[in-house]
């Protein structure tokens, strides 16, 4: 092997002015711009790739496109990729390539790639830039429809690029030029459509010349034209996996497009007309073509004559029984097609070009929901019925030959444009070309398998069906013998068609072989296995796009966030929000910080950013009625200027969310939700308003981000509020608990102040427009400085509310807890109906021995029971190895309390209220911790602190 030794001296579509160097398994190869890795390998005399995956058999390059099962490579840098077909990787300078045996390897630190997503809306999407697609795009764009044309090659022309017909290539070049000149046409090369979803939504991957640049296209098209062409099929015979066995059309691609010689002495095996072109092209390129082996008894005279003229013998009514050779094809044994299959000849050759006929590429069509039907004449599954607004045209529906493809593409393009309201003027495409005579193909004689002369199919382990999966006729025969009949079973049993080549050369062949084994005339009755997205493998990172790392789920912060950072807050993720968890001072851990923050709230004054609570405005004459139906308690009669705590249930009667509702005017309420529940509550509202209670005149609007809220908490909070809001009368009589006041702060900021408390202490929530949030925080901080105002985070909030026994929805409830289980009978209206009410009277939901919210005091005052710990009876033996240990409930919240000077917990406990005063136990590590059951309230039971 020497560099470029197998490169033809001239021709091809490579750019000989741009020489390139690359390495394959460390060996330097030379190539040109326009080469693929595979074509450069062949041009450098490398015909053997990595051995097969399971049987370590030598393998060579079979195809010239994404159908390639053997020539798999790993590319190291610049867009490193674990496994790609060498036939689709463009050669670039310095590319390091390693051949692979059907299994890739992930690299821990691959270089970042340049990946992006593009959204496109178009009238007409044309998939495929061969003659059909070009004709379709030209026709569709004549009437000004917006047209998007995708083609997976660097150059438009499709199958024409594999030929040498200058007139046709000129036509393609002209068409491409014309399209690019039209303002409403977008042509995207190196772009492969891989997914076809409902409502003409397609996904495509666009590659750069190098692998490190890729773009995901998301396309919504009014009308789609699929011009996806057809794939050549191999034939199954003994030794058909040897290097040197190649698809006939691929050999054309190598000599014509890449000017690379795939061999020196060739035999052509075919069932149809198309391989004659390969034979002639190979001969023209200097390959000694020894014979065309045609399965048909009477090959077409014109082609036979051309072959004869080129000095190629045609062996009619013959098939290849066997390719032999140690590391690659050395000889081809030819037999009669009809029984008995006596050997006609054995011919020395290093290249065996095979054409078993063509299969229209119906993958995308099938993904889109289209139905297929077997066509006996063409020996192929053809599109039968579209489910979406689409046409499938040209070779993709079995219309072969340039003239037919162009005519079909043109018809599809005109129809597509018309369906979008852009009728194309009735003008011929380019006079002369579309009428160009194409010979009518002679019927083929399908050959799925050339049986061995000896043994049973279950022994034919060298008749390969899926080269990547190393699966043979023997495997199919075994599956069939085991009782399997469905192609889906065969696929799973043999793994045929599951490789990274998506079974392009094996899927239908397997069905053909199965039909043969079962003595069926054709594969028609068996059908294909399902075509699934993606039609070509697509990288995880491309699909993920930019929604990774920090953008995985964008962080939400409040306007007060900068202040929290300055104060050195530790943050907790709550839903998408970053909330201050605690503010540790020098030398403090979380424990110390929380004790200090709690003490400040109980004895002085403390402040917290409560802006993340969900906030929803409800406006309309029926707002009160709507709230009455949603919450377990009533809101219709809530006085204007008042606030009320409320609980919502799901239809099952289980607590779903809670919050405080303010009535601001006759028809205007505003309410809070839990931080994590905000979106779900709004969805819930909208679901009822839009689908069930459409008669209610209510508008629900999220105002979570319109308001910033600062809670000011503690016995001295009134003084702080008085200081920041000089116009506000703050005495208990003038601003009582659960009322709301609109005022203007001393610094000029309008504020809505509510007297609510989630700690049991005298407390206020100061709401301001969010752009004033930080200023309000600073103002409160300034006014509170003299009182030692202390910022606190979510952990302190949790401790304070737990000391009072206020549950947190989602922590002390889990979707199985009713308001009554929480001891909130008082909030459940007996008079009015509300969502979930009926469920509360279901026999199980009304049981007295349900799990109920209780308090727990660990017998050891310093022992903190981990949240989540399961509770068992005082005398229950803990022998899970014998039988499940009966559990009574679990600890939902557990803290150290500064106010109590000890640890305490909240728990959901079976028959909890009956067990008050009793002892329960819980495993903590290797020991059992005992605790006494109490009422779920530990501090200020009489509620004396609420009014300061």
């Amino acid at each position: 092997m020497t560099a470029n030794s197998e490169r033809l001296p001239e021709g091809g579509r490579i750019d000989r002015t741009k020489p390139l160097r690359a390495t394959v398994d460390g060996i330097e190869i030379l190539g040109y711009r326009g080469d693929t890795v595979a074509s450069a390998m062949l041009a450098n005399g490398i015909r053997t790739v990595a051995p097969s995956l399971y049987r370590s058999r030598p393998r060579g390059i079979l195809g010239a496109g994404n159908e390639e099962p053997n020539a798999l490579v790993r590319v190291e840098r610049r867009g490193s990729s674990p496994m790609l077909p060498a036939t689709t990787v463009e050669l670039t300078e310095g590319l390091p390539v390693h051949t692979l045996s059907g299994i890739g390897a992930l690299e821990p630190n691959s270089e970042a790639k340049d990946l992006d997503t593009r959204f496109a809306h178009t009238d007409v999407l044309v998939v495929g830039g061969g003659p059909t697609g070009l004709a379709a795009a030209l026709a569709a764009s004549e009437g000004d429809a917006r047209v998007l044309l995708l083609d997976d090659q660097p150059e438009l022309g499709g199958a024409l690029l594999r030929g040498t017909d200058a007139e046709l290539l000129d036509w393609a070049g002209g068409a491409a030029e014309l399209l690019r000149a039209r303002p409403e046409v977008t042509v995207v090369s190196r772009c492969t459509a891989f997914g076809y979803y409902d409502e003409n939504y397609l996904l495509a991957v666009e590659r750069g010349e190098t692998l490190d640049r890729q773009r995901l296209w998301k396309i919504r098209a009014h009308h789609v034209v699929l011009a996806t062409g057809a794939n050549e099929r191999p034939i199954v015979f003994a030794g058909n996996d040897l290097p040197g066995v190649m698809l006939a059309d691929a050999t054309r691609a190598y000599v014509n497009r890449y000017a690379a010689l795939p061999g020196s002495e060739a035999v052509i095996a075919t069932t149809n007309d198309t391989a004659y072109e390969a034979a002639l092209d190979l001969a023209a390129a200097g390959v000694s073509v020894r014979a065309i082996v045609d399965s048909r008894a009477e090959p077409p005279e014109d082609l036979a004559a051309m072959a004869c003229q080129a000095g190629i013998e045609v062996l009619a009514d013959c098939v290849v029984a066997e390719a032999t050779g140690t590391d690659s094809v050395a000889a081809v044994r030819i037999v009669r097609f009809e029984q008995p299959r006596r050997t006609v000849r054995t011919i020395r050759a290093d290249l065996l070009a095979v054409s078993g006929g063509w299969s229209p590429d119906v993958g995308l069509f099938s993904q889109s929901g289209g139905k297929l039907r077997w066509n006996e004449t063409l020996a192929a599954f053809l599109p039968e019925h579209s489910r979406q607004r689409q046409h499938i045209a040209g070779a993709a529906r079995g219309r072969y030959g340039f003239a037919r493809c162009v005519a079909d593409g043109r018809f599809a393009g005109v129809s597509a444009a018309e369906s979008c309201g852009y009728p194309a003027p009735d003008s011929p495409l380019r006079p002369g070309i579309s009428e160009r005579a194409t010979r009518v193909e002679t019927e083929q004689r399908p050959v799925w398998i050339v049986p061995a002369e000896t043994g049973k199919p279950a022994e034919w382990r060298e008749h390969f069906v899926d080269l990547q999966r190393d699966a043979t006729v023997a495997d199919i025969a075994r599956a069939c013998g085991a009782g399997m009949r469905s192609p889906e079973h065969i696929k799973r049993y043999t793994t045929i068609g599951t490789g990274s080549d998506q079974g392009r050369t094996s899927g239908l062949t397997a069905v053909g072989v199965l039909a043969w084994l079962r003595g069926m005339g054709s594969p028609g009755a068996l059908g294909t296995t399902s075509f699934r997205a993606p039609a070509v493998p697509v990288s995880f990172e491309l699909l993920a796009g930019r929604d990774t790392g920090k953008l995985l789920d964008p962080v939400r912060t409040t306007p007060i966030h900068p202040a929290h950072r300055e104060l050195g807050a530790e943050f907790e993720n709550v839903g998408q929000w970053k909330r201050p968890w605690y503010y540790a001072r020098e030398g403090e851990g979380m424990h110390e910080a929380v004790l200090r923050e709690c003490a400040a709230a109980r004895t002085g004054v403390a402040m917290m950013d409560a802006s993340t609570l969900g906030k929803i405005d409800l406006i309309g004459p029926d707002a009160g009625e709507f709230l009455n139906r949603l919450y377990t308690n009533g809101f219709k009669k809530l006085a204007i200027g008042s606030a009320r705590y409320g609980v919502m249930c799901g239809c099952d009667g289980m607590v779903f969310d809670d919050g405080v509702v303010l009535r601001l005017s006759e028809n205007h309420y505003t309410l809070t939700t839990t931080t994590g529940g905000a979106a779900g509550v709004l969805d819930w509202f909208e679901e009822w308003l839009q689908t069930e209670w459409i008669e209610l005149d209510v508008w629900a609007t999220s105002v979570t981000e319109q308001w910033s809220t600062v809670a000011v908490v503690g016995p001295r909070s009134r003084e702080v509020i008085g200081a920041i809001a000089p116009e506000l009368a703050v005495s208990n009589a003038e601003f009582p608990f659960m009322t709301v006041r609109e005022t203007v702060l001393g610094n000029g900021i309008p504020a809505r102040i509510v007297r609510v408390s989630f700690s049991g202490e005298l407390a206020y929530e100061v709401n301001v427009a969010n752009w004033h949030g930080l200023a309000a925080w600073r103002e409160i901080e300034r006014a509170g400085a003299g009182f030692g105002i202390t910022p606190y985070g979510t952990e302190t909030m949790h401790v304070l509310r737990a000391e009072k026994g206020f549950p947190i929805v989602g922590q002390d409830t889990d979707g199985t807890v009713t308001p009554i289980d929480l001891g909130m009978d008082w909030i459940v209206s007996k008079r009015k109906d509300f969502i979930g009410k009926r469920s509360l009277s279901r026999p199980d939901t009304a049981r007295a021995d349900r799990k109920q919210l209780v308090g727990l005091l660990p017998d050891e005052h310093g022992t903190l029971i981990p949240e989540g710990s399961q509770l068992i009876g005082e005398h229950t033996p803990v022998t899970p190895e014998v039988a499940p240990v009966p559990m009574l409930g679990h600890v939902t919240s557990s803290y150290h309390s500064a106010a109590l000077g000890r640890t305490f917990a909240l728990a959901l406990l079976r028959s909890g209220r009956e067990r008050i005063g009793q002892t329960v136990r819980t495993p903590v590590g290797d020991r059992l911790v005992s605790a006494t059951v109490t009422e779920p309230i530990f501090y200020d039971k009489e509620g004396a602190r609420r009014d300061g």
Partner: protein
């Protein structure tokens, strides 16, 4: 050269014509239907059984799941049936004499928020008391179990720890189905493919057989194990099931050298992934929100799944999606299944398994077979009757503490 997969037996099943009458007809030739037939024949002495499959055997959810097996469920009722299943899984390779690549490589369920941590501790605590192997592991231990997992603090939702069930794992789903089908066939069960049930033969309120596209078939008892089509069948029988059907998607990568030693699931970042024996990464994600019987999901679900996968496993970035597919999951209001008698005498229901069906396969088989044979619910199935939707005795597995999939 890669490891070859174990060779399958040369004989799996006959392809019999359906008879006109059976003692028991099972609707649905998936894992659950086959396992039920297997236990009916092997443990309850009923041999005159047909399993009717509308397509090809085990071509529904049995062919579409991500093959994860675990029993670390929260509630007693769930842990009991899934642990029963896991114990049977551990016996099956020998019992069925079939190497279906059952691999107890453990499962990590990651916690990413403080509430995740509470829920995880709660579940581990419950699992331990229920005799299910489980432990809470901190981020360092997580990193030791699965070194390619990103456990750094510098991520959007850092891994705060995980629950770890060492006995959990994966199995090759198709092979499990074939192992069952082969054994059923050996026991004389007729496995009838391409035989869709289109209606029921009734005598008053009693079901006495099924109408199929291949004619009527009478049956002493009928068991429904039709997963995503259960609500359609129930409708045909004349009653309604509290079941919503949704698409659920999964995907595989190309074959890759071994890189992922266990099973990782994250509800919060939302992806679950293992690496199958052949080498492909197997991933699943969230249920599509809409109702559908189409076995087609939407693209954005896959995109989110990919973003989540890369977030947790940066090394997966350059892997490729080779194939995506969808199944239909039938979900009850409490995300727990229905097993037991139906409103019609002679007809028994097993459905609503949502995302838990595959891992429950042996448990369902044993429990549902018992239920059909005895005419009343197996003790493990008792909590799973249809009546719970009127009594309110729900087994809510999708609450804050629930773990999907």
């Amino acid at each position: 050269m890669a490891h070859t997969l174990p060779e399958h037996p040369a004989k799996l099943w006959r392809n019999p014509e359906p008879k006109r009458s059976y003692d028991v007809v099972i609707i649905g030739g998936g894992g659950h239907g086959l396992a039920t037939a297997y236990y009916l024949a092997s443990e309850h002495g009923i041999r005159n059984i047909a399993v009717l499959e509308k397509g090809w055997l085990a071509g529904g959810n049995m062919a579409r799941n991500t093959t994860i097996i675990r029993s670390n469920y929260l509630w007693d009722e769930s842990a009991a049936i899934y642990e029963h299943a896991l114990k049977l899984w551990e016996r099956w390779p020998d019992e069925l004499d079939y190497d279906f690549l059952f691999s107890q490589r453990g499962v990590l369920n990651l916690a990413h928020s403080l509430q995740d941590v509470r829920d995880s501790v709660r579940r581990v605590s419950a699992n331990k008391l229920n005799g299910v192997d489980a432990e809470w592991v901190d981020p360092d231990e997580v990193a030791k179990i699965c070194p390619i997992l990103n456990t750094s603090h510098d991520t959007r939702y850092p891994v705060l720890g995980a629950t770890w069930q060492p006995r959990a794992g994966i199995a090759k789903h198709d092979h499990v189905a074939w192992a069952l089908a082969r054994r059923c066939d050996q026991l004389g069960v007729d496995l009838v493919q391409n035989c869709e049930v289109t209606g029921f033969l009734k005598d008053g309120d009693r079901v006495v057989g099924v109408q199929t596209e291949r004619g009527p078939i009478r049956a002493g008892r009928v068991g429904m194990a039709a997963a995503g089509y259960s609500s359609v069948l129930a409708e045909a029988a004349g009653f309604r099931l509290p079941v919503q059907s949704h698409p659920l998607q999964a995907l595989v990568s190309e074959l890759l050298e071994p890189v992922h030693p266990t099973v990782v699931m994250s509800n919060h970042v939302h992806v679950y992934v293992s690496q199958a024996h052949k080498g492909e990464l197997v991933l699943g994600a969230g249920i599509d929100a809409y109702n559908s019987y189409t076995q087609r999901g939407s693209v954005h679900t896959i995109e989110h799944q990919m973003a989540a996968a890369i977030e947790l496993f940066p090394i997966f970035a350059s892997a490729h999606v080779l194939r995506t597919w969808g199944g239909i999951v039938d979900v009850c209001p409490d995300a727990s299944p229905i097993i037991g008698p139906s409103p019609l005498e002679g007809l028994f229901v097993n459905c609503g398994w949502g995302t838990g069906g595959f891992k429950a396969t042996p448990g369902v088989g044993s429990v549902f077979a018992h239920t059909i044979a005895m005419g009343k619910a197996h003790p493990l199935a008792e909590p799973y009757g249809l009546e719970r939707f009127t009594t309110g005795a729900l087994i809510d597995e999708h609450g804050a503490a629930g773990v999907a999939h």
